[in-house]
């Protein structure tokens, strides 16, 4: 499958400057594309548009030539957010987070190092890194075809980072999932990605 951003332009309603200006990007299945740019250049906004959280002012997001909205309620492009503590409901237990996803295979839950005992806790009783594993697992449901990883490991120590990324590389390549990796860390992008794109250079080309 091919995820295609076609001439995307976007500006927030509050009259800010044009954040994205005719940005195009293509990611195919099994590909791991690194996306980097300085802060404030719209990396997260771009991810939100690709995953259908925001509608672009101009341009289209196509998945195999069809619009994203035609794919039914479950979006095949899933985004993992930068802040895990904001991405889970503080008043529901962690096992419900896993159930929110689309039949998450047991292999994913174990592979991410989620312990059985954590599932009966509330989000406030887990650390950011532990929460992030749940968020990653939730995004890896059966019908997920593309993953947008927005700074998902910035808050983790190096050992946990490598554990998570090793698992993600294995899981996505065996299922043919394409990833867009957003990060400030050159080292990580070099190690993980098959190709790299600078958003600030794509902008307005």
């Amino acid at each position: 499958m091919i995820l295609e951003a076609d001439q995307i332009s976007f500006r927030y309603d509050n009259g800010n400057r044009q954040i994205l200006n005719k940005v195009s990007l293509t990611v195919s299945s099994g590909e791991r594309v690194g996306l980097s740019a300085p802060s404030g250049f719209g990396k997260t906004t771009f991810c939100k548009i690709l995953a259908g959280y925001e509608e672009p002012d101009d341009g289209r997001v196509l998945l195999d030539g069809k619009k994203l909205s035609e794919y039914g309620p479950y979006c095949p492009v899933q985004m993992i957010w930068q802040h895990p503590e904001l991405s889970v409901n503080p008043r529901r237990k962690m096992k419900t987070v896993l159930k929110e996803g689309d039949r998450i295979p047991e292999r994913v839950i174990r592979g991410l190092g989620i312990e059985k005992d954590w599932e009966n806790r509330f989000p406030g009783e887990l650390s950011g890194g532990e929460l992030q594993r749940f968020c990653i697992a939730r995004a890896l449901g059966e019908r997920t075809r593309f993953l947008l990883a927005d700074e998902i490991s910035a808050m983790l120590d190096l050992i946990t980072q490598s554990q998570l990324w090793n698992f993600l590389l294995e899981e996505t390549s065996s299922r043919g999932i394409g990833i867009l990796v957003v990060s400030h860390s050159e080292g990580l992008l070099k190690r993980v990605c098959t190709r790299q794109v600078r958003l600030d250079r794509e902008n307005g080309k």
Partner: protein, 274 residues
């Protein structure tokens, strides 16, 4: 050996409270007939062994009257508070979730009801429904949901912007499911607090419109009626007429307050393991 933790102890206390309130309500309901018996040979007696709360100017047993009055107040307060909270929940939710037209309609309705003086609307509705217990109940229920509905609406609008609700929608959950599963746990504490606060409010309204003659019939033993009657006799030194019913009303309200706090604490994840 420790068999109980704080959570279990609290649940135990709450169960006892509920049983007590149910007991008073049922007992008051059953003695309703006896509470209306007048006997002029025993009028204006101070509290004694036979009549622990004394008797009033018509020789009615104040203990039975207090019991019956508290019982009808609890029933009325509970029904009206529950109905108001449910209306507020659905109105607030619909206003925030269903889109702009629904929001404008419901907000307009809230403003309309809030714009009319409370007691006037209450009297009109109660009178239209034929006064009595049900007239008062319908009247209070229909006029008291507005401020809570506004609160719920604001809360839902805020929740709608939270990441986890947006994520749920991208994971294919519909609006209804998001509302039921994700928003309700956040709204319950507000609803319960609103319900508990509504309870004394409703009882006082019942008392006031009964006093004005548009509520319960005067022969019915209600705390509002008892209190307004006893006002006349208070200056004559008949302190027991107002003291015991007033104390019991305050106690019932306090018990409800304690219950509400308890439920809110039990539902809060911050306290899940205490």
């Amino acid at each position: 050996m420790k068999i109980t933790n704080r959570r279990r102890k609290m649940v135990l206390w709450m169960v006892l409270t509920v049983l007590l309130l149910i007991g008073v309500t049922v007992a008051g309901w059953l003695v309703g007939e006896k509470a209306a018996v007048t006997d002029f040979s025993r009028k204006n007696l101070a509290p004694c062994l036979a009549y622990p709360f004394g008797t009033d100017f018509m020789g009615r047993d104040m203990f039975l009257r207090t019991l019956a009055g508290i019982s009808s107040s609890i029933r009325l307060g509970l029904i009206t508070a529950a109905v108001s909270a449910v209306i507020a929940f659905f109105m607030g939710m619909a206003s925030a979730v269903l889109g702009r037209t629904a929001d404008a309609l419901i907000s307009g309705l809230i403003d309309l009801i809030m714009g009319i003086p409370h007691i006037l609307l209450l009297i009109l509705i109660s009178y239209a429904c034929g006064k009595g217990f049900w007239g008062v109940t319908v009247g209070i229920s229909l006029t008291h949901w507005t401020s809570l509905a506004r609160l719920i609406r604001g809360e839902v609008l805020q929740l709608k912007e939270s990441n986890y609700i947006k994520i749920a929608s991208r994971l294919g959950h519909g609006k209804l499911k998001a509302a039921a599963v994700h928003m309700t746990p956040h709204l319950l504490p507000q609803l319960i607090t609103g319900l508990v606060l509504m309870f004394p409010h409703a009882i006082l309204h019942e008392a006031s419109i009964t006093f004005l003659g548009f509520g319960l019939p005067p022969e019915e033993p209600a705390v509002g009626i008892i209190l307004s009657e006893s006002m006349k006799y208070l200056v004559m030194g008949k302190w027991w007429l107002a003291l015991f019913p007033g104390l019991f009303l305050a106690a019932a309200v306090l018990l409800f307050h304690f219950l509400g706090q308890g439920i809110a604490l039990l539902l809060d994840p911050e306290n899940a393991h205490r």
